[in-house]
């Protein structure tokens, strides 16, 4: 009887405890990130590589739509396609033929453009070793609780990716950069997507934990482009990113789709190449990783009832009109082309030059001393 009453008293607690353990266990396996960043890079120059810019902009568009703000996106485009003089529709970059979807949009902010997209700048952004005067919008200010999405597209080969037709980044360099990021605790989890020929070779050398990688083709295979538009005259998108964009268009900020669905994007029948992925370095099970963990920006809100007292507001100092009378000089507009003043202006010489004739005099002195000591008979040896 007593045991029964005891059980009835403690029973509910035991029951709720087990539910709590399940909850906390579930939370233990969910991601521990607090902010999201994205680094989207297009490495190709010239008008016929329109599709690489369209690839990057479609990922930018999805990432922005799912919540990551411009301040947390570092967008690098190696060439300007939208306002290129060969573009029949300026200020637009289309991803679907018949100009259905303008991925350039109306409020795009490109951080690195044109000649600024180099291997050095890309590695500096990743590792954070930028010159002190670099503005905030060009920095990757991530911390150890950031989930970073890195997307690269362009022309590549077995073990390298070509930047701007003049330099390459190798898979070893990339793996070392990620290791530096891990050691500096610059990421919590990293998703690496690459859409180039033989893209799987780029993630072969990774050795830092918590990296998941996807590529559009295996080693020895080419990534193919999707469809040309006859009005614009170039291929608009690559196949892998085209189907990736279609997949991402169905995602909204609260969707529960996980990474296994992302691995199934673009099977061989549609893509011609075989997309690959690598998850052995990732601690969590890909099935429990949500797409929005990397593509969206889920802000965790903590409600508190604590009260914080603010200090006194900053007093606005009025331009002391009482004691400023002595400084009251009358200002005036400056003459834009004061002809007489300019004619009588003497330009200041900044570099010091020795006075005229000094060098000539110096050489004369040297020759004089030489002939005095050694005599005139040496003259014929010189002239």
């Amino acid at each position: 009887m007593k045991i029964l009453t005891l059980l009835s008293v403690f029973g509910p607690y035991l029951f709720t405890d087990s539910v709590n353990i399940e909850n906390s266990a579930g939370q233990f396996f969910s991601s521990g990130h607090t902010n999201n960043w994205a680094v989207l890079v297009c490495t190709s120059r010239f008008w016929f590589n329109y599709r690489h810019v369209a690839n990057t902009l479609s990922v930018y568009r999805s990432v922005k739509r799912l919540g990551i703000p411009d301040s947390h996106i570092v967008l690098m485009l190696a060439d300007d396609m939208a306002c290129n003089h060969r573009n029949p529709k300026p200020a637009t970059v289309f991803s679907h033929k018949n100009m259905e979807l303008n991925v350039y949009g109306d409020d795009v902010e490109v951080d690195y453009r044109g000649y600024e997209v180099t291997v050095e700048n890309f590695l500096r952004v990743l590792t954070g070793r930028l010159p002190p005067s670099t503005p905030r919008s060009k920095r990757l200010l991530s911390d150890d609780r950031s989930n970073i999405l890195i997307y690269l597209t362009g022309h590549g080969g077995n073990g390298f990716l070509k930047f701007q037709d003049s330099e390459e980044i190798s898979n070893v360099e990339l793996a070392d950069a990620f290791e530096q990021m891990w050691q500096k605790r610059r990421y919590n989890e990293l998703l690496f997507i690459i859409d180039t020929c033989q893209g799987a070779s780029m993630y072969e050398r990774f050795y830092s934990p918590n990296i998941m990688a996807l590529a559009s083709s295996q080693v020895g295979e080419d990534s193919l482009s999707h469809q040309p538009d006859l009005a614009i005259g170039v291929h608009l998108m690559d196949r892998y990113t085209f189907y990736l964009l279609e997949f991402l268009e169905d995602i909204h900020p609260s969707s529960k789709t996980n990474m296994n669905d992302l691995f199934k994007v673009c099977p061989r029948s549609l893509c011609v190449s075989t997309p690959g992925h690598r998850t052995d370095l990732f601690l969590r099970n890909p099935e429990s990783v949500l797409i929005t963990d990397f593509f969206g920006s889920v802000r965790k809100v903590e409600i508190t009832t604590e009260v914080l007292n603010l200090t006194h507001p900053i007093q606005r100092v009025e331009g002391s009109p009482v004691n400023g009378e002595s400084h009251r000089e009358v200002y005036s507009y400056v003459d834009q082309l004061p002809v007489s003043e300019i004619i009588h202006q003497k330009p200041k010489q900044k570099d010091w030059h020795p006075p005229d004739g000094f060098i000539l005099g110096l050489w004369t002195l040297i020759l004089l001393v030489f002939f005095k000591t050694y005599g005139i008979k040496h003259l014929k040896h010189i002239f």
């Binding site: 060009k138 701007q164 100092v317």
Partner: protein, 579 residues
């Protein structure tokens, strides 16, 4: 006792109200906003639209006050000005080249690409370091590659680019820095942060018309930001900050207008106006109707009774005015779509008094010659012109070949300032003050030699060529009517940008075309080819030679058959010599 308390309460209430009123009035005098759009139909059928957004902020940075309350003035620019002790800042991004012969003079001129010139305060000790930091910060704000501005393309003009704002008389050109990037592209990513600087953004007022798909599909597009100190009132004893954002665009008749001489706000911008920005104290549209007094050239609808005259660019022009702060402008449909329909296509040709050209002559990749032509189209007046030429260091100018010829005779400049270039450190700077004779062409020629760059200094696409920035020609052009010398608040914005000191001439700045020159470019696929060829030659040639010299030949018995081998084995066992 009750009466006392009543009076006491009444006094308190009055005090309270007066305090509120005082603070409110202080709020409203902190600054004001003016918006303006000027539409000028051009003779060739194109149409020129110029937006100007002006914010005046009554605060004095120069006295060193710390500011924390930003209302109309954008915070990003306010912090830049105070941190880098900037006195004046002018930055412009332009796509296209302004054709003076066909379009006349723009209200605010700008060269193709990006241009930045800054006057620093007297308190700055290291101007070069501050300039470098400022360009980096601005490149982040405007999403442009302004960080490519370094000592190889920064100039310090000695007489051009005098400050456009107020000052106390002295202008030391040590605090001026000027740089252009002719290669800079302008696209939506530059327009987006520019629009974010406006107090209403692009959500209300004239800025809703700024849609990038239409603005960049034009012959000319230029957006600029100008910050300078201006007089607060007529006495000019204290200064306030003025921020002007200007956007000039010229729409082409054939690409945007579908070859029909009929323009409307919807056709130009794909939007109509529904309201003015509530933060603006004045928001107006001016249509230039000077050539259309009796409506014989074009018809303007909806009609407006407001007409105003202004003296701008040396001419008195008449404008039809639409005041967007009045509800009656929008009519019953609550939206304003201005339409300009052309009836006849005759008109006077534009004869601008001053325009300039620049081109490169010569052949081959060794030498060349730069020609700058300046045209003075005034029939009887000559006027002074200040030419600022900047050439990058890799075009080595032969300054002894500099010639200035007007009307077949030598024209000696009254002032020359030449600073030679230093390889990889600074560019050439040439400034000349010339007097252009009336109705003449002045030609300035100088020969140059092209340098060979180090292979790491080439851009990824070197066969495109290298750009030489535009020449700047500043001049005092004689005007046909008396100019307004008192800059007041009541003047429309387009006529009050350049200050006027005398009535008989106005200040104008003309930019020439940028030049594109090819430098001797190595074949960058050459190392790969050389390695292949060298390895083949070494393998085939050296290998064969080595074998020939060191190989020795030995005679070898052929292998005997199986029967013979068995017989040899048996004979060896017997101790008999083999076969």
């Amino acid at each position: 006792m009750a009466a006392h308390r009543c009076r006491y309460l009444a006094c308190l209430l009055l005090l309270f109200l007066s305090v509120i009123l005082v603070t409110m009035s202080q709020e409203t005098t902190l600054g004001h906003e003016q918006h303006e759009l000027v539409i000028r139909p051009l003779h060739s059928g194109d149409i020129y639209a110029s937006f100007q957004f002006r914010t005046v902020w009554e605060t004095d940075f120069m006295k060193g006050n710390k500011v924390s309350h930003y209302r109309l003035f954008p915070k990003s620019l306010g912090q830049v000005i105070s941190k880098f002790s900037v006195r004046e800042l002018h930055i412009s991004f332009t796509q296209g080249y302004w054709r003076t012969m066909q379009w006349g003079q723009p209200f605010i001129p700008s060269p193709p690409g990006a241009e930045l010139w800054v006057w620093f305060q007297d308190s700055v000790t290291d101007v070069d370091a501050t300039w470098k930091e400022l360009t980096n910060v601005l490149s982040g704000i405007f999403c442009a590659s302004l960080n490519f501005i370094d000592s190889t393309n920064t100039l310090q003009p000695s007489a051009s680019f005098k400050p456009l704002g107020i000052g106390n008389g002295t202008t030391d050109h040590r605090f001026l820095r000027y740089a252009t990037l002719p290669r800079e592209i302008v696209c939506t990513e530059n327009l987006t942060p520019w629009k974010k600087l406006l107090p209403c953004g692009s959500k209300a007022g004239l800025a809703v018309l700024l849609k990038s798909e239409k603005l960049f599909h034009s012959s000319f597009h230029s957006q600029s930001v100008h910050i300078r100190p201006v007089c607060q009132d007529r006495q000019c004893k204290s200064s306030s900050w003025e921020l002007r954002q200007a956007l000039n665009v010229v729409f082409d008749l054939h690409t945007s207008g579908q070859s029909k001489r009929e323009w409307s706000l919807f056709k130009m911008f794909s939007r109509t106006l529904t309201e003015a920005c509530p933060l603006a104290s004045s928001s107006k549209i001016y249509i230039d109707v000077t050539d259309n007094p009796q409506e014989e050239q074009f018809e303007l609808s909806p009609a407006t009774p407001l007409l105003s005259q202004a003296v701008v660019l040396g001419d008195r022009r008449t404008f039809s005015v639409y005041d967007l702060t009045q509800q009656v402008t929008f009519g019953t449909v609550r939206s304003l779509n201005l339409m300009i329909r052309w009836k006849s296509s005759e008109g006077d040709m534009l004869r601008p008094l001053l325009h300039a050209e620049r081109y490169v002559t010569g052949y081959g990749l060794q030498t060349g010659e730069i020609h700058t032509l300046m045209y003075n189209n005034h029939p009887f007046r000559s006027f002074p012109v200040l030419l600022l030429d900047s050439v990058p260091w890799y075009l080595r100018l032969y300054i002894h070949t500099l010639k200035v010829i007007s009307k077949g005779k030598d024209n000696n400049p009254s002032y020359i300032h030449y600073q030679p270039s230093k390889d990889r450190e600074r560019p050439h700077l040439l400034e000349m003050l010339l007097q252009l004779p009336p109705h003449s062409v002045t030609e300035v020629t100088v020969q140059f030699e092209r340098a060979l760059l180090k292979w790491t200094e080439y851009t990824p696409d070197p066969n495109h060529g290298f750009y030489v920035g535009s020449s700047v020609i500043s001049s005092l052009v004689p005007s046909t009517v008396a100019m307004e010398t008192n800059i007041t608040m009541e003047q429309p914005l387009f006529s009050s940008f350049f200050p006027c000191k005398e009535e008989s001439s106005y200040f104008a700045r003309v930019y020439t075309e940028p030049l594109l020159v090819n430098l001797p470019t190595p074949d960058f696929s050459m190392p790969y080819n050389v390695i292949c060829l060298t390895c083949t030659v070494v393998a085939v040639g050296y290998g064969s030679l080595y074998n020939l010299l060191t190989r020795s030949f030995q005679v070898e018995e052929p292998n005997p058959g199986l029967a013979k081998r068995i017989a040899n084995v048996i004979r060896r066992m017997r101790g008999v010599p083999p076969l």
